[in-house]
């Protein structure tokens, strides 16, 4: 009996010892909670790659926003018509979400700037691998400005000064578009002046070329300045000339282009729609085909495919679904009775142009006409730039036209209709490019002349003047949302933003 008792005691003591010895370190788990799945520090060059790649984002989920190739804007300016299901071209879709732009590229760029600025991190190898601190900051600031410009031109007043601060500012206020523009002008100037020497290894867009970054920044300012032609011509003029002086695009070789690649993960979105999803949602619009046919434009065979009848036929814009039933776009192998978008715009690796030399020439033509460059309206210079713009576009697409093209009515420069002609040719030149610029021109000048969808489903039945904020703003940032609609006007597509006068 005694023996057994001793045995129990030993067992208890042994158990106690085990428990006690593990207790001394019971709260120490070592590195167990360090994720083996993701890096804890970022190579900043890789963040830059991601921020650039978002330009070509083609995600169709509601939370992600397209930037340079957004279907809505291409529909608003009637480059394309929807084939079977037409609600977006009838303006039934009004609410777009910029969440993806803030969350992804903007936050990545903000992080690049932060890591390259903070004394504690700027010399870390994962930061310096991205290039000289100053150059990384400069590139990040310019790209950031581009995204903010895209957002403000679509939605109007936007969170800017209080944005991207994480938990430090959980409900960022909306800044007026005017103040955003002022900030962006300053930001772009300062950033362009900041570049150091050395490569930017993550920069696939401009291959680290400081010159291209600077031209990109100046061209962006040029377009921004022109946007002020109605609301603040004085500032617009000053900024326009300042941008010109800093050096904008000077040839087609300078064109700012986002290149897609011959791989599924980086495919052009029209290609994906036609050949991966096989939806064929978009045909060339009748507006484009009729306009180009009217002036026998040599770009038509580039812009559109022939139908089964061997002709170019545009899909009428914004029909009801019942009406659109009579048209068929066919498939890549078998054409239908309306034209597909041309091969050059729908291959897997077809690029999308953002800013082109032609666009710059049309910008200058308009500025000459406005008297911004020489001090008084200058039709001679405007006509020359206008012509240079058309020729730049021809060169861009490798087409030529007989001399009669330039002398025919509607194309030949006419002082009385100059702005309409300039913007119309700019619209043609920018076909299937960064259509926001074209939509901005339409809103600012009323050109090209576009007939809204005859079956519009929007309240005012007109082409949208802006896009509505997403429901997350009204529900998660309610007070600031209420303040902005009180200031800017109702959150509807007919409300005009600051520069849209």
């Amino acid at each position: 009996m005694k023996k057994q008792l001793v045995k129990y005691l030993y067992i208890l003591l042994a158990t106690g010892t085990v428990v006690a010895s593990s207790c001394s370190k019971v709260d120490d788990f070592g590195n167990l909670n360090t994720s083996p799945n993701s890096p804890a520090v970022p190579q900043t060059s890789l963040l830059l790659t991601n921020a650039e790649r978002y330009l070509g984002n083609t995600s169709t989920t509601a939370s992600a926003a397209s930037v340079i190739n957004a279907n809505a804007q291409r529909l608003f300016v009637q480059y394309m018509s929807e084939t079977l299901y037409t609600s977006e071209s009838r303006y039934a879709t009004t609410t777009y979400d910029y969440s993806g732009i803030y969350n992804n590229p903007l936050e990545d760029l903000q992080t690049i700037i932060k890591l390259n600025t903070d004394a504690a991190t700027k010399n870390a190898s994962y930061v310096t691998v991205g290039g000289p601190n100053e150059s990384q900051i400069a590139a990040a600031r310019i790209l950031k400005a581009f995204y903010f410009l895209n957002i403000t031109d679509r939605w109007g007043d936007i969170p800017y000064s209080e944005a991207l601060q994480g938990l430090a500012k959980v409900t960022p206020k909306f800044d007026t578009q005017e103040s955003v523009y002022t900030s962006l002008f300053a930001e772009l100037k300062a950033a362009a002046a900041q570049f150091g020497t050395g490569n930017l290894p993550g920069d696939f867009l401009f291959k680290g070329s400081v010159t291209t970054w600077k031209k990109f920044a100046a061209t962006m300012r040029l377009n921004m300045a022109l946007r002020l032609s109605k609301v603040n011509p004085t500032l617009g003029r000053t900024e326009f000339n300042a941008a010109l002086a800093d050096g904008v695009l000077t040839s087609n070789a300078d064109n700012i282009v986002y290149s897609f690649l011959g791989e599924a993960a980086n495919a052009n979105n029209i290609y994906s729609n036609y050949e991966v999803d096989k939806r064929y949602d978009y045909a060339v619009s009748k507006t484009v085909v009729d306009q180009l046919n009217a002036i026998a434009d040599p770009r038509l065979p580039v812009y559109a495919d022939k139908t089964s009848a061997g002709t170019y036929v545009g899909m009428p814009y914004g029909l009801t679904q019942s009406q659109s039933s009579a048209f068929s776009i066919g498939t890549v192998g078998v054409p239908g009775n309306v034209s597909r978008i041309g091969q050059q715009f729908r291959s897997q690796s077809s690029p999308v142009t953002i800013y082109t030399y032609a666009m710059v020439q049309f910008d200058k033509a308009e500025a000459y006409k406005l008297g911004w460059i020489t001090g008084a309206p200058d039709d001679t210079q405007a006509a020359a730039s206008y012509l240079a713009g058309i020729n730049a576009s021809f060169a861009q697409y490798g087409v030529t036209a007989p001399a009669t093209y330039f002398t025919q009515a509607g194309v030949a420069y006419n002082s009385a209709t100059a702005i309409q002609q300039i913007i119309t040719q700019k619209w043609i030149a920018n076909y299937m490019g960064y259509a926001d610029e074209t939509w901005d021109d339409y809103r600012r000048t009323g050109y090209p002349v576009l007939t809204p969808s005859p079956a519009a489903l929007s309240i005012d039945k007109l082409i949208p003047r802006r896009q509505n904020y997403s429901v997350t703003e009204s529900q998660l940032n309610g007070d600031n949302y209420k303040a902005v609609i009180a200031r800017q006007g109702p959150d509807v597509t007919s409300t005009r933003i600051w520069w849209d006068k």
């Binding site: 509601a62 990545d108 068929s328």
Partner: protein
């Protein structure tokens, strides 16, 4: 100090003369009875049986017999045999309903009267009433305060369970399922092996399980051998399953988006000669996947297959008629063959049971099947009177093939109720593959282009775009228990749970979407080690004391390898990642976590009518910041059986009040503390990295949830009427949530400790036995649960938590919100505008005005039900037993994407019919057709008189005004019905069987009430919405059960 006490006890014990031991079991089910009083006759010496029904007692010299007594059972006096081993089987006292023994946290059996919190128990038989293959569905309507969100039988899915509503701001989670101490997913529970099941609801009941018990715990005890000697059990059922509910479709108009016919003109230059006969015949636009086409007239038209040279009807026209059953006919009769075989052996020193279950099930969707093999072995050996070893091993293999998915984009149901033609002939679709290997589809681009526009043939999806999910799980435990003293024992337990899953899916080469293969392998491992010391003693026959102390370490490891091809295959029909044309996407993630815990309880009772329980637990979690990874919590509960102090009376036979307080702490998944960066794919040769959209939090604290509970249990007229009522109030502070942020912060969520969330509710159970005679027994049990949640405080500056949003790109969206101090789970959506009198405001064109911007969205109410409940009843008459189970939900909103599309694409019955002028609404407005939206004109306040085209309205105008497709989710459903017959004992014995029974079972036989036409809210695929939901199924089967 403790040690000294122990020594005293031990020396006291050695003063006795003789040791007698044994087991007390219940006569009905052979299950061990814990807490039974064992007394030496004519002395003050006594003890109680332990959790396993065993007792050991020191008997003074000269004593001859023991008195065994237990509430609800007939007391017995037994002579002490010379072997010193007594096994006693107690008969239930028919005068008083047997005292229910409830298995509580950590498998500690307790008499129901001693519980200071709500816990509801079911017997295994309650779960297998109709052989529901899914445990959660089998619980529906049977437990107060739990909500089961079912799933369609079509995908073999498992339902979700919410105990006491949604405790958590993020939408809640399923409770913890614990089988014999091992936490497992609900799908690993084999209802045939369940002895009993207890639902523990609040923190006072669950805190011994730690953080994983925060959503409630379902404690399951496996069956053990019940009969001394060898036992054999055979159980078989065959069940047939059919589609029950489908939306109501129209059968007046066919495919297309225009009532105008297209005319086919034969062109010898491009068309094959076989089409010559179709020249001048009519056809509609096959590319459009909706039914706003021409009216059925029985006249010839060119069907889609007439252009397919391989089709028997190539080049022929067909009469243009509706196919009213084309969706229903797609679904087949599913067959489930469920067999269970078990044997057991019980002896003085061992108890062994092994069970094998095989379920072969074909689904209602063609080519879908689910097969299960389950083996479980549980055994106990008792080499000496004081030493017990128990071990259990369970192996589950579940293999599912081609279970159809739900939601909008699904290629079968996603089409049938959202985008389809009402004239399609199923027989023609069955030829889904042409002899040349190409696939046919109804949704062709056009007469001269057989490519699919938006949809594959549903049969192509079923037979070619296949998927499979093979999961294997092994779990079990090894336990050694040693009784140091009759009242003191130690246990050492090692538990393991290992699972692996292989999930594959393919998109076949040559179908609509790009060929694709995906392969995902998930492995989970959990090891769990426990040491405990238990003390159990009755003092002076008045005071009972039970206590336990535990130390536990839990180690979790998960890894997940997930790959899919990109850009198609290098060689068609090669379903392997290596065939990927572009770089395949491969992700691998590893999760490691450890939780270390010490915990214990003390439970005291006085004269079997006053009880007090205390428990305490401290956890250390690896997933919390190092300086905040320790958290202490616990609970106290008390119960008072007041009828023990009252004179015996014939009205109130039992009465108990109870109250409890509990706190439970919880942590979070690993890797939510330190910031990380995510891989973001690659651009050519440029890899990309991105800042995650979530802000991680190094300041995180453990979450604490406090709960108070009080209740009363009453039984009247010899327990013929039983009523229990309880109220609970739960306050969660510092709950760890992924707070939704405006994206303009640069992030969309942040891991934070939320301020405060309150949750309270009531649970009522009313049960009775209206008839109890020799030949007829009628039992009925009804329950009701009400739960209310409120967010008191969220995060400084943020007053809303957005649970989810739904909408198509650019369209108005609907969102589910949890706003501070507002009803929980509010749906905010665009609405049709109304005037002060509630009339719809109509524009001059006859269309209603609706919210054009989010600032005008309105609340449609909460998706949380007002109350949920159920009624089960069984009647037995001689050898017949019949039972039904009904469950219901009142209130709560549900919005239906299916309904929106059903109307938008002209499939719904509501898109046809006559208007008040007596003309078909699809007739052009100019010819007297159209619909009139009742309301007043916004311009002049006069009643609207302008008719509009239904297609313009349903398809173009309001498909995104989600308020129009939001319904009450109230429903009443007959979930189960059964009718059984048991062979009389003398006949059964002729085949040497103990019992033989046949049962006719019906599952989901009748959706008695639903406000959403053709859809079953109890099966919605999300708690607040439904989209492309699979049709509900009902089944009918026969069950045979034989025990030897």
């Amino acid at each position: 100090m403790n040690l000294c006490l122990l020594l005293l006890c031990i020396s006291h014990a050695f003063a006795q003369d003789r040791t007698v031991g044994g087991t007390v079991t219940g006569q009905d089910d052979g299950q061990p009875l814990p807490g039974v009083s064992v007394k030496v006759r004519g002395s003050n010496t006594g003890t109680q049986t332990g959790p396993d029904g065993k007792f050991v007692i020191k008997v003074p010299a000269g004593a001859t017999s023991l008195e065994i007594s237990y509430i609800g059972f007939v007391p017995q006096t037994v002579a002490i045999p010379s072997s010193n081993v007594i096994n006693i089987s107690l008969a239930g006292d028919t005068k008083v309903l047997s005292e229910v023994v409830i298995t509580t946290a950590q498998n500690i059996p307790r008499s129901e009267r001693s519980l200071g919190y709500a816990a509801q128990a079911l017997k295994g038989g309650d779960l297998t009433l109709t052989k529901q293959p899914d445990l959660n569905t089998a619980l529906a309507g049977k437990i107060a305060g739990i909500q089961v969100s079912g799933t369609s039988g079509a995908n073999f899915g498992t339902g979700g369970v919410r105990i006491r509503g949604t405790n958590s701001i993020g939408g809640g989670a399923d409770p913890l399922y614990v089988v014999d101490g091992v936490p497992v997913p609900s799908t690993s529970v084999n209802t045939d092996d369940v002895q009993d099941l207890t639902v523990l609801k609040g923190p006072a009941a669950t805190s011994l399980y730690g953080q994983r018990g925060e959503n409630g715990v379902i404690v399951i005890t496996s069956k053990k051998g019940t009969k001394k000697g060898f036992g054999l059990e055979f159980n078989h059922s065959t069940t047939l399953e059919n589609v029950a509910a489908l939306p109501r479709y129209q059968n007046e108009y066919g495919g297309g988006s225009s009532q105008n016919w297209n005319k086919f003109t034969y062109n010898p230059a491009v068309d094959a000669q076989g089409l010559a006969g179709l020249n001048g015949q009519r056809y509609y636009n096959y590319a459009v996947d909706e039914s706003w086409g021409p009216k059925f007239d029985g006249q010839p038209y060119i069907p889609w297959y007439a252009f397919n040279k391989f089709d028997a009807d190539y080049g022929k026209t067909k009469p243009y008629v509706a196919q009213p059953d084309n969706v229903r006919d797609f679904y087949e009769t599913g067959v489930e063959v469920n067999s269970n075989f078990a044997f057991s052996s019980v002896g003085d020193k061992h108890n062994f049971r092994a069970s094998y279950t095989n379920i072969n099930r074909t689904g209602v969707s063609p080519n879908s099947r689910a097969d299960q093999n389950r083996i479980s072995v549980i055994g106990t050996v008792k080499p000496t009177a004081k030493l017990t070893f128990t071990s259990s091993i369970n192996f589950n293999s579940i293999s599912t093939r081609n279970a159809p998915t739900e939601e909008y984009g699904n290629q079968t149901i996603g089409s049938f109720s959202q985008w389809f033609h009402r004239d399609l002939e199923l027989d023609k679709l069955k030829n889904y593959k042409n002899p040349d290997g190409t696939f046919t589809t109804w949704n062709i681009v056009g007469p001269r282009n057989q490519s699919a526009q938006y949809w594959d043939n549903p049969y192509t999806v079923a037979y070619e775009n296949t998927s499979s999910n093979n999961s294997n799980r092994t779990f079990g435990f090894l336990q050694g228990s040693y009784s140091i003293l009759p009242e003191l024992s130690v246990d050492v337990i090692a538990r393991g749970n290992y699972s692996s899953n292989l999930i594959q899916s393919r998109t076949a080469s040559g179908t609509l979407n790009l060929e694709r293969y995906a392969n995902r392998q998930v492995r989970n491992r959990e090891n769990n080690y426990v040491i405990d010391i238990m003390y159990n003693k009755l003092f002076a026959e008045k005071y009972s004391l039970k206590a336990g102390a535990y130390g536990e370490i839990r180690v979790n490891h998960n890894d997940d390898l997930n790959g899919n091809t990109n850009g198609g295959f290098t060689v068609p029909n090669t379903y392997t990642l290596g065939a990927s044309k572009d770089r395949p996407t491969i992700t691998s993630t590893i999760y490691d976590k450890q939780v270390r815990s010490v915990y214990g309880f003390v439970s005291g009772g006085y004269k079997n009518f006053l009880f007090l329980d205390l428990n305490l637990r401290n956890d250390w979690s690896s997933s919390l910041p190092a300086n905040a990874n320790s958290y202490l919590y616990g609970g106290a509960s008390t119960s008072f059986v007041f009828t023990e102090l009252m004179p015996k009376n014939s009205i109130l036979s039992f009465g108990k009040v109870f109250t409890s307080f509990g706190r439970v702490g919880s942590d979070i998944d690993p890797y939510n503390i330190n910031s990380i960066y995510n891989s973001a794919g690659i651009y050519g040769t440029f890899p990309a990295l991105t800042v995650p959209n979530t802000i991680y939090n190094q300041e995180l604290k453990p979450a604490l949830s406090d709960s108070y509970e009080a209740g009363i249990d009453l039984r009247f007229i010899k327990d013929r009427i039983r009523l229990s009522f309880n109220y609970y109030n739960r306050k969660t502070t510092n709950q760890i949530i992924n707070l939704t942020l405006p994206s303009t912060t640069g992030f969309s969520t942040a891991v934070i400790n939320a301020g405060e969330i309150d949750n309270h509710g009531y649970e009522v159970t009313l049960a009775g036995t209206p008839i109890r005679s020799k030949s007829v027994v009628w039992d009925i049990n009804a329950n009701l649960g009400i739960n209310r949640n409120k967010i008191v405080e969220l995060y400084p500056g943020i007053s809303n938590f957005q649970l989810a949003t739904f909408g198509y790109v650019g369209t108005p969206s609907i969102s589910v919100n949890r706003e501070v101090n507002k009803p929980f789970g509010t749906l905010l959506a665009p609405v049709i505008k109304k005037d002060a009198n509630g009339n719809k405001l109509i524009d001059d064109d006859g269309f209603p005005l609706y919210s054009s911007s989010p600032s005008e969205y309105e609340s449609l109410g909460s998706y949380i039900p007002k109350y949920t409940g159920g009624v089960t009843t069984t009647v037995s008459y001689k050898n017949f037993t019949a039972g039904i189970s009904v469950d219901f939900q009142r209130g709560g909103k549900l919005f239906s994407v299916t309904q929106g599309n059903l109307y938008g694409s002209g499939l719904a019955e509501g898109t046809v019919g006559n208007n008040d002028k007596g003309n078909p609404i699809r007739t052009p407005v100019s010819a007297g057709g159209g619909i009139l939206i009742p309301g007043v004109r916004e311009s002049d306040g006069q009643p609207n008189t302008t008719y509009i085209d239904p297609q313009d309205y349903y398809e173009g105008y309001i498909p995104y005004v989600w308020s129009e497709y939001t319904y009450s989710a109230s429903y009443v459903k007959l979930r189960e019905a059964s009718l059984g017959y048991t062979l009389p004992g003398n006949i059964a014995r002729k085949i040497s069987a103990q019992s033989v029974s046949f049962t006719l079972v019906a599952r989901n036989p009748w959706l008695i009430y639903s406000a959403v036409h053709g859809l079953d809210p109890s099966q919605s695929n999300f708690s607040w919405m439904e989209g492309g939901q699979l049709p509900g199924t009902r089944s009918l089967g026969l069950n045979l059960r034989v025990t030897f």
